[in-house]
């Protein structure tokens, strides 16, 4: 048996399986043999040593008895865990300086601040021994925001008000209002697609960029259709809409040349959603009947809407957890699947602790909350199944930052954190 683990480099491995990382060495050797490699682990030649002056010492890097690199691309059955290494106090030192500069520049620094925080958060996220990297810049975000203002915000204001200012008459006013409504309607889907395109294109792992290659026109058209269906079904189409939206976003996302696949069913969230609607119905019923029951039970009847309110919060958190896991568990990359282990209880504890932290510190704990959220996400997410990572090749796509600029106007991604 080999004496050094080819994956983690642990010496004196007595058995076939490395006690350090669980790596099965015979499988690895067989894989190498199948590919025509020599499974006997050979040592690289020692490099030439340059002359060094007095304070410089020469410590050669220990050569590992490994056949390939440190992380072989193939394993029979495996689970890759995400890890988040960030610390609240590190992020605080970035965040507070950013907050100061944002205030001092009356908000102009906001875009650079946001970029700095993202650099930190991405750089602290690791899978398979490698950190993610963020490549966006403050200038890009600023330009994206400026474009969103010029092409959307100003036209919307002008369309809805200019006819009134200049007295162009009723027809112009109506047309202007219609135009403003159409632009406002396009705003949300364009921001969703644009922000995703920008952010994925500026994210890399092992030097390979992510990308989004969906078509904005197609997504906007579908989004409008879904909105109409939600309206016509009095909201009951909403869970289907969530799944369909996720499907479009996932199916057009890539890591290098490897494509993500969404395998969920359109009706996947229906049960969870109906439970949520039911809880709301109970809440309103309780609220309506409380005055009547007060006649019989006195003040104790107030407990009824309170209990119903707690039920709604509980069911809502359960829905949030189920939605998260439904999306992740049905996301595939080259035969590997994301695995989600979020439980409603854990999510509830996270939310509660975050709320308490923020309230007790008047918001100064924001960086700690960000770190807690990132850590929670990483700890509850893994990539399961065999995947030949080494076979994935670079296939980066250009992406403008206008969509990201649009997204700045939504509360979904506001804030330098």
């Amino acid at each position: 048996m080999a004496d050094t683990c080819p994956k983690c480099g642990r010496p004196a491995v007595g058995s076939d399986q490395c006690p350090g990382c669980g790596f099965v060495i015979s499988l690895y050797d067989r894989y190498l043999a199948e590919r025509g490699h020599d499974p006997s682990r050979k040592s690289a030649a020692a490099p030439a040593v340059p002359a060094a002056s007095a304070p410089i010492v020469w410590t050669p890097v220990p050569r590992r008895e490994a056949g390939g690199d440190g992380s072989p691309s193939w394993r029979a059955s495996e689970s890759r865990l995400l890890a988040f290494h960030g610390a609240g106090r590190d992020l605080f030192s970035i965040w507070i300086v950013c907050a100061f500069l944002t205030l001092a520049t009356l908000g102009v620094y906001y875009f650079w601040a946001k970029t700095r925080v993202r650099h930190y958060l991405y750089g602290q996220t690791e899978i398979e021994g490698d950190r993610f990297a963020y490549h966006g810049t403050g200038e890009e975000l600023f330009v994206g925001f400026a474009k969103a203002v010029v092409f959307f915000i100003i036209p919307i204001i002008l369309l809805s008000n200019a006819p009134g200012w200049f007295g162009w008459g009723l027809m112009a006013t109506k047309l202007g209002k219609l135009g403003a409504t159409v632009l406002t309607g396009l705003f949300t889907p364009l921001a969703i697609v644009g922000a995703r395109r920008y952010r994925l294109s500026r994210t890399s792992w092992r030097g390979i960029r992510f990308s989004f290659r969906g078509d904005a026109k197609t997504f906007v058209a579908r989004f409008v259709g879904w909105s109409i269906l939600i309206f016509l079904t009095a909201g009951f189409y909403y869970p289907v809409f969530l799944v369909r939206k996720q499907q479009y976003l996932t199916d057009h996302s890539y890591f290098g040349n490897a494509r993500f696949r969404f395998t969920g069913e359109a009706s996947g969230l229906m049960t969870a959603y109906l439970r949520l609607v039911g809880a709301f119905a109970v809440f309103f019923t309780a609220f309506m009947t409380v005055w009547i029951s007060a006649l019989f039970f006195g003040a104790a009847a107030l407990l009824l809407p309170l209990a119903a309110g707690a039920l709604v919060v509980g069911v809502w958190i359960k829905f949030a957890a189920e939605k998260r896991c439904y999306f992740w568990d049905h996301t595939e990359l080259e035969g590997a699947t994301l695995r989600c282990s979020v439980t409603p209880g854990a999510l509830a504890r996270l939310y509660l602790a975050n709320a308490v932290l923020l309230l007790m510190t008047l918001g100064l704990a924001t960086p700690w909350v960000k770190v807690r959220n990132a850590r929670f996400t990483c700890e509850t997410l893994a990539l399961d199944g065999p995947i030949d990572i080494d076979a994935i090749a670079q296939d980066a796509q250009a992406a403008p930052s206008t969509g990201e600029g649009l997204a700045t106007f939504f509360d979904t991604d506001v804030g330098i954190g």
Binding site: W58, V61, D69, G256, G363, T366, A391
Partner: protein, 366 residues
């Protein structure tokens, strides 16, 4: 230097073409570094072309990149590498930076600075900016905004619309508004609600609650409240408050992020109180001036505030503190001083019949 400079380091090479991570031995030379990559390649990176993109924080591997756009990268997990790199290359911050926490002094200074700036912006900056902006908002915008607010707050089915009462109120309001020329067209709506309150939406839309009309003991008291609210409109207090609150919300959201809904709400509530108190005084004084210009007895206004004060004293302390209309002794004393020496030359606000119609505006007829 505590640690001697090492010239050879273990790392990984990412070629920017595939997701394979190849082990590399990085050697620091005089003008650049050489990386022997597993698989036989050797790359030469001159220091002048290298940029550090990660490794600024404790525990973060040092990541160097070379090339434009999609760059090749070298990752060295041992943070001590950067120290040797700095020493051998002679390149230091900002291009090659040690990991480590920011200086406590910088962080502390930034924290103090941020708090000071926030207070300055909140207390003076945003109000001043809001004033400048509000003064430039066209009256037609204010009018439309006010109409929207009133429609929300006082929907048509909750309004009291007895024609005689409405006519009397319209006439009284018209008389007060005429005392100062303005581009506003004032309108008044009575909301069927037992609370004693009134408010002014931008653009000249006044809302009076039924409770206030029932509490008032004379039409002069109602006139006093109307003059006060008219001044809120003329001084654009509501428009300013809306701009202030929106700007504060944006600022808070920018800094605290999307987790801050709760804080935006808290700041919002605090803002409503702070701005109002300042503006109330102005509306009082100017409203009183308006009453005298319209030949209405300003003592009605004072009498109404006094009755409100007595009411407030009966309320629990917590409610008193939260009131947006602080009927303090000071406020009443100030008004008394302003009203002094103006007895005599007044005309009644409403006739007896009109006053009765106003008080009965919410009674259902037939």
């Amino acid at each position: 230097m505590a640690e001697p400079t090492r010239l050879e380091w273990a790392g990984f090479y990412l070629d920017g073409r595939s997701a394979a991570r190849r082990r590399a031995v990085v050697r620091l030379m005089r003008t650049g570094l050489e990386a022997s990559v597993d698989g036989g390649d050797t790359v030469w990176w001159p220091y002048a072309e290298i940029r550090q993109v990660q490794g600024f924080h404790a525990g973060e591997p040092v990541r160097l990149e070379r090339g434009d756009g999609i760059a090749a990268a070298l990752v060295v997990p041992d943070a001590a590498f950067i120290e040797s790199l700095r020493h051998v290359s002679g390149v230091t911050a900002p291009r090659f930076r040690r990991a480590g926490r920011r200086w406590a002094l910088t962080v502390f200074g930034a924290a103090i600075g941020a708090v000071v700036l926030m207070v300055i912006l909140y207390r003076w900056g945003i109000p001043a900016a809001a004033r400048v902006v509000a003064d430039r908002v066209p009256v037609s915008w204010e009018d439309r905004l006010g109409a929207t607010i009133v429609d929300q707050f006082a929907p048509a089915n909750r309004r009291c619309t007895a024609p005689e009462g409405q006519a009397a109120l319209d006439r009284l309001l018209g008389r007060i508004a005429a005392a100062e020329p303005s581009p506003y067209r004032f309108r008044i709506v009575v909301l069927d609600d037992r609370q004693v309150n009134a408010f002014a939406a931008p653009g000249g839309h006044l809302v009076v609650l039924r409770g206030l009309l029932q509490r008032a003991r004379s039409p002069e008291e109602v006139a006093g409240v109307l003059a006060h609210e008219v001044q809120h409109v003329l001084r654009r207090h509501a428009t300013r408050a809306i701009i202030q609150r929106a700007s504060t919300g944006v600022l808070v959201a920018a800094i605290f992020g999307d987790v801050s809904g709760l804080f935006a709400f808290a700041v919002d509530a605090a803002a409503t109180l702070a701005y109002s108190r300042e503006h109330e005084g102005e509306a009082d004084a100017e409203g009183l001036r308006l009453l005298r210009a319209a030949r209405l007895d300003p003592r009605g206004m004072i009498a109404f505030f006094e009755s409100m004060r007595k009411e407030a004293e009966r309320a629990p302390r917590a409610f008193r503190y939260l009131s947006t209309h602080p009927s303090t002794d000071e406020r009443i004393a100030g008004l008394r001083a302003l009203a002094a020496g103006s007895e005599g030359a007044f005309e009644p606000a409403l006739t007896g019949a009109e006053w009765n119609a106003v008080r009965a505006i919410c009674d259902r007829h037939g």
